[in-house]
């Protein structure tokens, strides 16, 4: 129990530092950045303590906001995907989730990618709509969501592949 808490704390801090020190400054093709910290919310172990999970997601988003001077946009997007995660889990994994026996290391790769896609695109859509905050720029919101989403998805998949091989 203690071991998982420590490892999650390290993950949390490492993801925040990686995001703000490296990934926020990639600016691929001008303004495309990946938001890898979403993977923390995706792969957080499923248990019954949803309150702690939602609060942790909020804290994660808020720390990114603190560094990137963006108000509360990351916090709002993170807390929303944390709240609706059970629905997406049920949609993607079906019966395994129902029996509460799901382990992210064991699930089918295809189902996992679809799960990532849904979470990442919902997160990015909320993020960019709040950041741009202007209905007349809706095309810009969709464009940024699509390109950043693909970039984030790529990084998320690569990260999971790398870290699952080690063990």
């Amino acid at each position: 129990m203690n071991n998982t808490i420590i490892s999650h704390t390290i993950q949390f801090i490492a993801l925040v530092l990686l995001q703000v020190a490296v990934l926020n400054h990639i600016n691929f093709l001008g303004d495309i950045n990946p938001y890898l910290y979403v993977i923390f919310i995706c792969l957080f172990p499923i248990n019954n303590n949803r309150i702690a999970f939602i609060f942790l997601s909020f804290l994660l988003g808020l720390s990114i906001d603190l560094f990137s001077d963006s108000g509360g946009v990351h916090a709002a997007a993170s807390v929303t995907i944390a709240f609706i995660r059970p629905v997406i889990l049920k949609f993607c994994f079906g019966s395994i989730y129902e029996h509460q026996t799901i382990k992210f290391k064991q699930v089918d790769f295809g189902a996992k990618v679809i799960y990532f896609i849904i979470i990442i695109f919902i997160h990015h859509l909320i993020l960019f709509s709040l950041e741009i905050f202007n209905l007349s720029n809706i095309l810009l919101v969709l464009k940024k969501t699509l390109f950043s989403g693909i970039f984030t998805l790529l990084l998320c998949v690569i990260t999971t592949v790398i870290f699952s091989r080690k063990k």
Partner: protein, 271 residues
């Protein structure tokens, strides 16, 4: 009463979600209005410290280009100094220097940002160097932004590449003035609105600050005219301005303090 408590217990996840969402929306809306991002900004010891140490490493890699920029500026200042008609005399104290209105402080950018729609930069000078809100920030080439929040050692700057900022600017040759905004499309191009129809415009003309606010002195270069169009009502020009600064590569900046700020503000508030 029992029912109410039961309701809260049953829906505690949802209520927590609503509360946290509300909180983050409040922060978001605050960040969209000028000078209100009081709680969530990167000018505190934690984020400032981390950015500072990250920047100490990063700045190593563009030392060469930054040195060239500084040498270019030195070259320009030297040419001004030695070509001026009245030679600088030793032992002569220019008494007009004492009443200069603007105080300059050098600073370094430790977090640059140009890809978002509301870009905020971070400087390594703060309250300890008597920097406070609404000071102007420029580079050797031109205008950069306005100081927003300050902590003891760090200050955030609202860049010209921010949709919440408007800066008063004018043509260099005539006194027609307008307000400078950014349409979020290109980090090297800003828009100058409300230049009157009768102003003589030419492609390549220089745009400078107008000195009509107490933030910037008059005549700080901003950029050159790329294109200009009449707006829909055909009364004002909207001008596309190419910035002199390369906003993606800036490090050494100067903070401008208007020493008469208090007096001017008092006068304006008394009215």
């Amino acid at each position: 009463m029992q029912q109410i408590i039961n309701f809260f217990l049953r829906n505690k996840t949802f209520l927590l979600y609503l509360f946290l969402l509300f909180l983050s929306l409040v922060f978001t809306i605050q960040s969209h209005s000028y000078h209100k991002s009081r709680f969530i900004n990167s000018a505190n010891f934690l984020t400032g410290g981390i950015y500072n140490s990250a920047n100490n490493i990063q700045s190593f890699f563009n030392l060469k280009s930054q040195n060239e920029l500084l040498q270019e500026e030195n070259n320009y200042l030297k040419s001004l100094l030695y070509n001026s008609s009245g030679k600088p005399q030793e032992g002569f104290i220019d008494s007009t220097r004492f009443s200069s209105n603007y105080k300059f402080t050098p600073a370094r950018i430790i977090k640059n940002s140009y890809a978002s729609t509301n870009n905020v930069l971070l400087l390594n000078k703060g309250k300890n160097d008597s920097i406070s809100q609404d000071f102007g920030v420029i580079t050797s080439k031109g205008i950069l932004g306005i100081v927003d929040e300050t902590s003891n050692k760090y200050a955030t700057v609202i860049s010209v590449l921010n949709t919440n900022i408007k800066i008063s600017a004018q043509l260099k040759n005539t006194n027609h003035f307008g307000s400078l905004e950014w349409d979020t499309k290109n980090p090297n191009r800003v828009q100058l609105h409300e230049i009157s129809k009768i102003a003589p415009l030419k492609k390549g003309d220089t745009i400078v600050t107008s000195g009509r606010s107490i933030i910037f002195p008059k005549g700080i270069p901003i950029g050159t005219i790329e294109t200009f169009n009449l707006d829909s009502a055909e009364n004002f020009y909207t001008i596309e301005v190419n910035l002199f600064n390369d906003m993606t590569n800036i490090e050494h900046v100067y903070i401008i303090e208007n020493t008469d700020r208090k007096e001017i503000n008092n006068l304006l508030n008394n009215e």
